[in-house]
């Protein structure tokens, strides 16, 4: 997989039961791109959490709404001179996300009684991906995640 550009687009309904299908597709793609098992898992976790957030918060649990996931390879760039980049863009037309809620907050070790798992998904996304960007575009929520590809072996 050496070409840059568009790789794969998945359009799914906001049904939690198909999340495993997206994860499987990502797992195979990550393998093709040369990610280690561990890094592959980090990417899958981040996308899975992003989809979960869309289903829960943007779509308030509705199961018939549309989510689009587009994967591209971006060429080496000035801020990533030695690595090509995997770009994953998630689009939904649900409730506008309050960008303030997406700001990174440190995950402290808090006493168990005070633990609220709500922020955990966002933590996974921010920790596992290199860049996380959110914006509104044409009335839709757009979440852009990137991760540097492992260095290619020479063939």
């Amino acid at each position: 997989m050496r070409r840059d550009g568009f790789l794969l687009r998945i359009e799914l309904r906001s049904n939690p039961e198909v999340l495993c299908v997206v994860r499987s597709a990502l797992a195979r793609l990550a393998e093709l791109l040369g990610f280690s098992d561990s890094d592959s898992h980090l990417v899958i976790l981040a996308v899975d959490e992003a989809l979960t957030n869309i289903i829960r918060h943007a779509y308030k649990g509705e199961r018939e709404r549309c989510i689009e996931v587009t994967l591209r390879i971006l060429p080496k760039a000035s801020d990533s001179p030695s690595h090509r980049i995997l770009e994953i863009v998630l689009l939904d037309d649900g409730l506008p996300v309050d960008a303030k809620r997406l700001r990174p907050r440190p995950l402290k070790e808090v006493p168990i009684d005070e633990l609220k798992p709500g922020g955990l998904g966002l933590h996974f996304i921010r920790k596992n991906m290199d860049k996380v960007e959110f914006r509104r575009q044409d009335g839709r929520n757009l979440l852009r995640l990137t991760k540097a590809l492992p260095l290619a072996e020479s063939h």
């Binding site: 049904n15 999340l19 994860r23 561990s38 898992h41 979960t52 168990i112 798992p117 955990l120």
Partner: protein
């Protein structure tokens, strides 16, 4: 995700297999809370040997199990965590909070 329940004297073993994610974690949560809060089982053991994947909603369900066990002064033990599940708990900074055993024998020791 499949759940099977084995009952020993004063111990319930919950055999979980598959993925614990947004669609399946509510079922796990229900089972854990039923064993702990309603049946008041003194020790609940979750066998995660056949669990391939856990996301944050899965972690939340396990955490609710742990909180329930503390409220009920019972024990909640997990075993059979693979590398991915361990990684997720590590990322959540929760690995040290749970009681985790290497295998069933250890989990059942008095």
């Amino acid at each position: 995700m499949q759940i099977a329940i084995r009952k020993l004297d004063q111990i319930t073993i919950i055999d979980v297999s598959g993925d614990i994610d947004l669609s399946t974690s509510p079922d796990l949560r229900k089972v854990l809370l039923h064993e702990m809060r309603e049946l008041k089982v003194p020790r609940v053991v979750a066998n995660l040997t056949s669990v391939r994947y856990v996301d944050s909603s899965g972690v939340a369900s396990l955490l609710e199990g742990l909180k329930a066990s503390r409220d009920m002064k019972s024990r909640f033990i997990m075993y059979g965590l693979n590398a991915k599940v361990t990684q997720v708990l590590q990322l959540s900074k929760l690995l040290n909070i749970f009681e985790i055993c290497e295998n069933e024998e250890q989990a059942l020791k008095p």
